[in-house]
Subunit: 508 residues, 4 copies
């Protein structure tokens, strides 16, 4: 722990103190109940490996090059060929994307600066499996700056930005990923990350659990050296809890998906913007005066409703939970059953995490030109399969936009075939990804530096103080000035001046 | 439990089932950490016994009658004199107030209806100590209808509505309370409730902990028959946790203060309205264009900020917690230190639960006519004492409004002398009180009917399912229609169709 | 005009220039069409003389004194008895009210300061008939400071604040007004203002047209010396247009009611706040989740809808005008006919300026506890008379709140007996009154100083530049910093750098 | 007039009545002052012919075909070659776009239906010059259905959708337009529309005034047969007022740009959505917490501010007009000079209609990554030319996005090179275009059918009743139900039951 003890002691950085402090509370508060219902599989940016992911366009055209990257011989400018990307020559373009992203990821850049003297990840050998985007690149290069060695694969066969992968490979990161991998490519890439002579990972950063799964299946012995897993996605977290429940989790794991900051940004704040963006880019519709029903009033639903109300839409809400339902009422939305409004609404948005929320029966009753889309979990909420019947005609009118046409001419506008609108049809702001990436970096640091015994073979939530630290690293972006407690006030409140500031059950 | 098992089995009422169900989870989730910081003493409607409470005016003038109620001989129309109120003749007026309140307390009325056959509180002997208002009367009469015998005192020497107390006494409730009790009267009234021949309480409903304290001190043996304590206030809950920590809590206690529904209504939703109401009634100011600084962005601060922003004020926020600070940023408020804006703002509002947030130094720097008020905890947030110096002149311009005048003529408008604006200068909507009262009633039913061993000698949070039940009882007010899960969906989500619908750590 | 030509030449004050400038455009733009429909009689703060006006309470109790002021012999401290008020001894209390008002009427105070050297109203003899409140007092004393002599009566038999009238009388203003005048008193007071030996008015400031009417009827010759009339109310303006149409208007008149600034403040901005205030003070209701129908989407309706939507109400709108209706749609409100929602709403608010918008049939169909109130014009919108039938019981539950009870027990909550809620049950912020008063003062200055021929015997709207000037005088309150055009920009836009900045048909 | 006199007499259509009615008022109210300042040249969707216009993408690739359309021999399926488009074979794709547009242009479709019996434009020979998009096609085909013959050119060399032009040509409309015309092509196309043997236009529909200008210059005699001009753009209207002022306007012209409905939709409602859309599509930024300064608080500025505030941005406003400034204050925005905030803001948006609002000096002081864009008039607001200096580096990072880089590395993100963001980087919703197109159609019908003498050789605003009619035709889209006045109410208000409902100076 000395390496990262911040002995320089600037007032804004109190890590070492809390690293010791929160160890006490952790066992009680941060262990998530092992019995986790599927309900908690609410929306996350991360999806399983086969979801399409179109949030960032590929800027350089490589359509003329049909050779599989696996069959190519490529070297970066330093002569290394320990990578596999689409085209190493695209590195320069990718570098610029990374530089642009750096400007909106102030927290990671701050971590890098702090790490010029000390290297909290010195000796860490991190194998990662995430979307490979400019923002991931900033994370990876930050981990490198903090002392870690990294090897990386993509968690999704479509989501890799080839230029960024090239830039990383050019900088010496062993990256194995390209846009449009086959299923076989996917596992091959992962294997190339872990199955290396003379190098064995001691940390895992996963998004979806595929990497973890692969190691469990193929190289179970590797876990002996692994200090911990950091998992970011709902799906991956679910798999970890299942492992834990089954007594098969043999290292500590950090669930960064459910940290406050990440949840609010991924869901409430991000969806408040992406629902508008996704609908506009696909349909060019006007929001004012439109009648909308939003199914589900969790964080995602709250974000969608707030945005649409602000734009002059008339919003109805459906809910199964009476508490969320009462919140919807108090926020000014009519709480209805879907059937009651299905004939009159212009837009149907699902954000429940449930399945078959919009059924064929509902679809049959919608009015002409009704737009149907999903902001919730996976692609189960709208029963899209029920629309694949002979009497209905599908017409692709734009990328991600289908008209489904009834025999009487009625058209339903189905977006992204029922997959996540915000991933498929809008972009995720770098700032949101910055919060996730910072959380991942801190979780890696914590697990890597934690003294023996602090973490058992279980799944942990991020300590509240770390959550607060992630938040504080992002405040300068807004030129936001935090107030500090006086000694007297801290005593009165029974708080440490550096936090954590709230009990664990605090709801924000 | 048979009495209240809902064998009638209407679809909306699933109590018996959950009464068994949640017993399993309870021990794990509902036990609040025994180490509770004073920070959690955030705002509640309940205050200690000496706070003034002016939310409801007394409608009939009794100023001419200076005799102490303790010295009067009064009988109700049925000949009983087991009560002590200001003037039993005011009963009719109080009855009308109660009837009006009943119309806005649908949940309690629904409970009454359900109880026509079964009496879940049959045999219960409840001693209560709360504010005595029309809404409390509806609660008390509901408890009576559910089978309980009640005796009642006031938890605050100012807050009793004499007419309502009279109406209750007239209906046969032994009530001991009047507006303007002395300290001695206060304890005398409490004692008259518990120290009765031939009657011993087996349930306690407390608000502030004074009743509980009195029994501990004077009649500790009574606890042998007491099945549980239901406590509603922050202060009282704090005292219970202290008892528990000290190993002195000898019966189970239910902390209803921290239930989701109550928290959101008492704080976020209620303050969103009462900040406007309190400022208007005291100052007739216009909100549009005013610069306001809100200290603290918890639920209360969030409510205040949302309301003032909506009315066209320009709102600044101060915070100590980086997570709440980031929320303030994302919600569109400049996060500042108080010093940065203190010279320019028109209004300063405190909602921190902290002390000396606004100091004499701040007050010295405010501009002429600046309004200063407190929506937070107790009366500590503004250092009002620092204004009691010879060079400053105090001028009472209206009830609850003081001008504090500096030697150079600058005036600060201080509201409610720094006490809670929402309690002192606005009213609490009956609907909010309905939620609290329903929560209290359900907590009493649960504790009274719980099988041996379900609750230990500890402090429990309200089971989530009960919280959901309180919410569901209030949905009809809004003509809100809840969606029910299909069997298939419930299975998919791993949920019981009747809830609880969320994991305990869910933040709403 | 020399007196007021601003030769001091501060940059912010350009009056003389525009006084000449706008004379050119005036004849074309400012003449309001002589055919004015009753529709334009939309809401104004001013009402006819018999409306009750309770916006400011009388602070000192004078109930013990039943002698008519007309029968009293009173002298102020300087020995003058040229006034008639309730009680000259209340002067000190009234003075404090005036001082408080001065703090929120920055524009008038600024005019006073400017007038220390020059006296633009020197020689003016103004007879006024308005509500007599602290704000009016600030206006009157400003006119005095600008050089005018004033005599004043009340335009409403209930609205006089006796203490303020006393303070004015004490300062030497001949004021003839008290709260609770009889009809006969009313005209007697007016007559005492104009029928004076050795003094003849040359300017009229009227609010409702009664003073103007009295002079026309009793002293038509007085008009020979009168330079102009400034009229503030809808009703008074309507009467002036009728006079003009009939060819009987023998002096120029200024309609200050329809100036942009006044309209927006009296209607949109003021009602946005007063609807909430009026409902809260009368009913203590909670806004969140309530269903509300607002009849009429003019400025008043827009203000009501915006406020209630922001507080979490679900708002429906009715309209007759398709353009306003489309605005309601785009602003996110369901446009309905009253019949469609009357059974389900919790609150009905009228803001149409029309009559019988809410009929007995509607009232019969409302649900129990529905609140009905009027924010529109006069007391015609709700057919209150139709509720005066034997089968319905009226119960006064508070000041301004009646329960009307149907035979089956259903209660309707009628506020202010259908009169204006904002006047009857809330206060008008001083800031709004400041805008009106400033407009009146500037109109008087303009008419008094206008060169021969600038104004004919017609009704004029306030020149846009004056409207802009009123606005600019109120910006410092908000610490608002106006941008000035560069010479180059002014030339590009074809504008004078000092305004007016918009064509006359601009809609704001 | 018989043709269109609505003798069928459905209740919703009262045209003939008002066509007579409003003739009386028109001369007084609808004549716009001939002296029009350049200030009134505020934003409009229409731009001059050389602005780029990228709101709708061309869906079929025609990059392989480099032949100029003027050199091609094309025939539609009926054998006609009286057109000149890029590629007649793209007609089918264009037809589908038109069909989609029809669904969102309910008013024009309603007009078509009404015209099945009567043909109000029978005999009309309309020459048009507008953007050629799917929405224009719906307008053209509606004019055809109403009886008119049309010939059409594009008003902008970039804005033609080739597929739509092909579809129109295929349906028999003589269309002369393609995307990417040269200046010479532009005039050639216009000439081909008017210079036809055996056909002479009697109506002009213009957007920008180029067509009108061409006829004035080349075929002045044509005006003998022309019944009127309908002009939609700010620029074109300005040119017409100049003609009128110079006494050279020889036919009546209708200014449809300044109608209420069009103004509110083009500016307030449309910009409220397009500012978000334009910023998102170009920068993927997050709005929450961002500091934004909006220059100008007219309709466009109001829309931008409302949207950004709703999304959680902190918005500052600059204004030159004190009335608009006061509105900004009351709406909750800090009113500042640009200099005061230029160092701290994340985004600068201009909506003033002025020039050099953002100067090089401002640009020099902006912080790194500041985004600069224009929602106002033309491309003058930001002094983009000042950035073309050697020490600054321009980097095109995406279509419509430039980074301008200072020697110290600071980057400014300039959108659309200072041209209109909403035109360049977002789409205009069909619904908004529907309102414009309907207004144009009604203006053509009115001018064509007006009896001799109703309109002189002058520029007229659209009669208010027509404006109301346009609005009413769009209400069904929102399932909005208008209330009708009773006879009694209409009499009370002095209104015709069918409108117009407001005096001409009403501000909405």
């Amino acid at each position: 722990m000395e390496k990262w003890d911040g002995s320089a002691g600037t007032s804004a950085f109190h890590m070492p103190e809390w690293m010791i402090q929160f160890a006490d509370q952790k066992q009680e508060f941060n262990k998530r109940p092992t019995k986790i219902s599927r309900r908690s599989l609410s929306r996350s940016i991360s999806q399983s490996s086969t979801d399409s992911y179109s949030s960032a366009a590929s800027y350089t055209d490589s359509s003329d090059d049909e050779t599989s990257p696996r069959d190519k011989q490529q070297k970066n400018s330093k002569g290394s060929s320990d990578f596999c990307v689409k085209n190493i020559k695209q590195a320069e373009f990718g570098r610029r994307e990374i530089e642009i992203a750096e400007q909106e990821m102030p927290a990671l850049m701050a971590l890098r600066k702090r790490a010029q003297g000390e290297k909290p990840l010195a000796g860490a050998k991190i194998v990662g499996c995430t979307h490979i985007t400019a923002q991931t690149a900033v994370l990876m290069e930050t981990l490198g700056a903090l002392g870690a060695q990294c090897r990386w694969a993509a968690c999704n066969i479509y989501s890799t930005l080839n230029e960024v992968a090239a830039a990383l490979a050019e900088s010496g990161f062993p990256v194995f990923a390209w846009k449009g991998e086959s299923e076989d490519d996917f596992w091959w890439c992962i294997d190339r990350c872990v199955n290396v002579e003379g190098w064995q990972p001691n940390m895992i950063l996963d998004d979806g659990g595929d990497l973890t799964h692969w190691i469990y299946k193929k190289y179970p012995n590797m876990f002996k050296k692994i200090k911990g897993i950091v998992e970011e996605s709902v799906t991956g977290v679910h798999r970890l809890y299942q492992l834990s429940k089954a007594g098969k989790l043999c290292v500590p794991a950090m669930n960064v998906n459910d940290s406050v900051t990440k949840q609010k940004f991924d869901n409430l704040y991000c969806c408040r913007e992406s629902i508008l963006d996704g609908l506009k880019r696909t349909t060019d519709m006007m929001f004012g005066g439109k009648q909308v029903v939003v199914c589900g009033y969790g964080e995602v639903g709250k974000g969608c409703c707030a945005a649409l109300k602000a734009m002059g839409s008339i919003v109805y809400v459906t809910e199964i939970d009476p508490i969320c339902a009462l919140q919807a009422c108090m926020d000014g939305f009519r709480l209805v059953k879907l059937n009651e409004v299905i004939r009159q609404v212009d837009i149907v948005i699902t954000c429940t995490g449930n399945k078959n929320v919009v059924t064929r029966e509902h679809l049959d009753r919608m009015k002409n030109s009704c737009i149907v889309c999903n902001m919730g979990h996976s692609n189960t909420e709208i029963d899209v399969a029920s629309l694949r019947t002979p009497e209905l005609t599908w017409e692709r009118v734009r990328s991600q936009v289908d008209h489904v046409i009834w025999p009487d001419g009625k058209r339903i506008v189905l977006l992204a075939e029922g997959r996540l609108l915000n991933l498929s049809c809008s972009t995720v702001p770098t700032f949101v990804l910055s919060i996730t990436a910072t959380t991942q970096a801190l979780a890696l640091i914590e697990l890597y530096n934690a003294p023996e015994g602090r973490y058992k073979q279980d799944v942990y939530l991020l300590p509240k103080k770390m959550d607060e630290y992630v938040a504080s690293l992002h405040l300068p972006t807004f030129d936001a000035h935090l107030t500090e407690l006086t000694d007297e006030q801290a005593k009165y409140l029974g708080l440490n001046k550096n936090g954590p500031f709230k009990p664990n059950y605090y709801r924000y």
